[in-house]
């Protein structure tokens, strides 16, 4: 079942085109890696998916809701982990999660249960009453993923969630989000790191605002390996730099 549908989406910052006719979809239970170098348009696409930006060009469907026509229904079904941390460092983990639950209309016992379930799922229950400032980068990211799950979304968007993390934390978070996809969530994971991608993941390669390829990891890799194939596809940038 299609959870996220992006069709012919374009967006410009003034005269600069950031996205140009982007189309792809993500099914329930799939981990889709949105792979692209810096400046490819990944963050712009995430801003459109979360309605921080709006465009008249193209269509974005979230769990069957058109984000332009029914933004509230669409946002209620999205869990988002932004590239930039969005935590209040001086509040405790639980206070941060309670604030988020409130923004989604959850209060009282239902909020407590949802927060506890999300913290347990991410192995963060014992840290619930610690100040976020006291957590390391990996635990902060886990907390943000737990937060994104509180309201029971159908789609999880993560914009380069492993930036700045050590190898062990990256691995743990990547593994966990793959498990979430296996449990039925549709996951869109923006990255420029090919080692975060598994063989059975869907890959959408975004470059200079256009979708270059949309397929499975083995399809894209061909015989040369995914990393090399990705570098070849996006080679023009490095040629310019050289």
């Amino acid at each position: 079942m299609t959870r996220l549908e992006i069709s012919q989406v374009s967006y410009s910052y003034g005269s600069r085109k950031a996205l140009d006719g982007v189309s792809f979809s993500v099914e329930a239970g799939r981990f889709c890696a949105l792979l692209g170098p810096n400046g490819a348009g990944k963050s712009t696409l995430f801003a459109l998916l979360t309605r921080l930006l709006a465009t008249a060009e193209g269509h974005i469907g979230v769990a069957g809701f058109d984000i332009a026509k029914a933004p509230r229904a669409a946002l209620a079904r999205l869990g988002v982990v932004f590239q930039q941390p969005t935590l209040d460092l001086d509040m405790t983990v639980r206070q941060n999660l309670r604030y988020f639950a409130g923004l989604h209309g959850l209060s009282g016992r239902s909020a407590v249960l949802a927060i506890d379930a999300a913290l347990t799922q991410l192995g963060m229950a014992e840290r619930a009453d610690e100040q976020v400032r006291a957590l390391n980068g990996g635990h902060r990211r886990r907390m943000e993923i737990a937060r994104a799950l509180i309201h029971g979304p159908e789609i999880l968007l993560l914009d380069e969630p492993t930036v700045g993390l050590d190898a062990a934390s990256r691995q743990a978070i990547t593994d966990h989000v793959h498990l979430l996809a296996q449990s039925g969530l549709a996951v869109l994971w923006a990255t420029h790191l090919v080692d975060e991608i598994r063989p059975d993941d869907q890959i959408v390669v975004l470059h200079r605002g256009k979708v270059l390829r949309n397929g499975s990891a083995p399809d894209l890799a061909g015989g040369e390996g995914l990393a090399k194939a990705f570098l070849t596809m996006t080679a023009e940038d490095r040629e310019v730099l050289a």
């Binding site: 712009t44 709006a54 988002v80 969005t86 001086d90 604030y99 923004l103 209060s107």
Partner: protein, 263 residues
């Protein structure tokens, strides 16, 4: 509707938690008007003669005259402080979290605004309490009647802050807000001197003061402190609030958002 109130409660709780933690901000918010009340007013008491003007029934001391203006000053600074915190939230990303909530954007921004106003009313309450301890009091009914006036003036000044935050994208640019918004609004108002006094030196400046929404916020507070309603000031404050809020909502429209930041 319950979800809306839950979100409002969450936003107000967060603002209050942040405020309680920022003791420096609380002290600064109190020290500033107290310095004006105790030091500045003492110095100017002799220099500025005041006639009997409504809502006062007798001659008053200068400290009594500037008390409402200093309440307005607290709210003006708080509105700009909230604006600063919104710019900070935009830079730090937490504004994204707020704006991706599945509730109407106007409600989320209004909730944020209201949360800041509640903080400013707490500050004014403490300030009025300290003023009363130093002998500067108003009729007992004024302490209650001023609450709705503070709510409205706080909303109007907060909406101005919200509007500014939709146009100022970097903290570094915020010093300009101090120079070009707070000081002209405060000094070109009836906070420190009545408008007739200003007219003696410059009719043009008096007219500018009369057009300044902050003047009307101060007059609304002044009359409310004496249990009276100043209808003209009320209309000005409400109209200014609607205007600033609509402009701020336009500034936060997703079709326009982030354009400047990405060039």
């Amino acid at each position: 509707m319950r979800a809306w109130l839950t979100a409002l409660s969450a936003i107000v709780t967060r603002e209050n938690l942040r405020f309680v933690r920022q003791r420096g901000r609380f002290l600064a918010a109190l020290v500033r008007p107290l310095v004006w009340l105790i030091v500045f007013a003492a110095g100017f008491r002799a220099a500025l003669g005041l006639s009997i003007i409504p809502p006062y029934q007798t001659y008053i001391t200068y400290e009594v005259y500037i008390l409402p203006g200093l309440c307005g000053m607290i709210q003006l600074f708080n509105g700009m402080q909230s604006s600063l915190s919104l710019v900070y939230d935009q830079e730090m990303g937490s504004m994204r979290l707020l704006l991706t909530s599945p509730l109407p954007r106007w409600w989320l921004l209004f909730s944020k605004l209201l949360a800041g106003v509640i903080v400013s009313i707490l500050q004014v309450a403490v300030f009025l309490g300290i003023a009363a301890l130093t002998g500067i009091t108003v009729p007992a009914v004024g302490y209650i009647a001023v609450l709705p006036a503070l709510l409205l003036s706080g909303l109007m000044l907060g909406a101005l802050g919200l509007l500014i935050s939709s146009t100022v994208r970097q903290l570094e640019n915020f010093a300009g807000v101090m120079n070009f918004v707070i000081f002209p609004m405060f000094f070109l108002s009836s906070a420190l001197y009545p408008l007739w006094k200003m007219a003696e030196s410059s009719p043009l400046l008096r007219d500018i003061c009369a057009l300044n929404p902050f003047t009307h916020a101060v007059e609304l507070i002044r009359f409310a402190l004496y249990g009276e309603l100043h209808l003209t000031a009320l209309a000005w404050v409400c109209a200014s609030f609607v205007l600033f809020m609509l402009a701020a909502l336009w500034g936060y429209d997703p079709a326009r958002a982030m354009l400047r930041s990405k060039g």
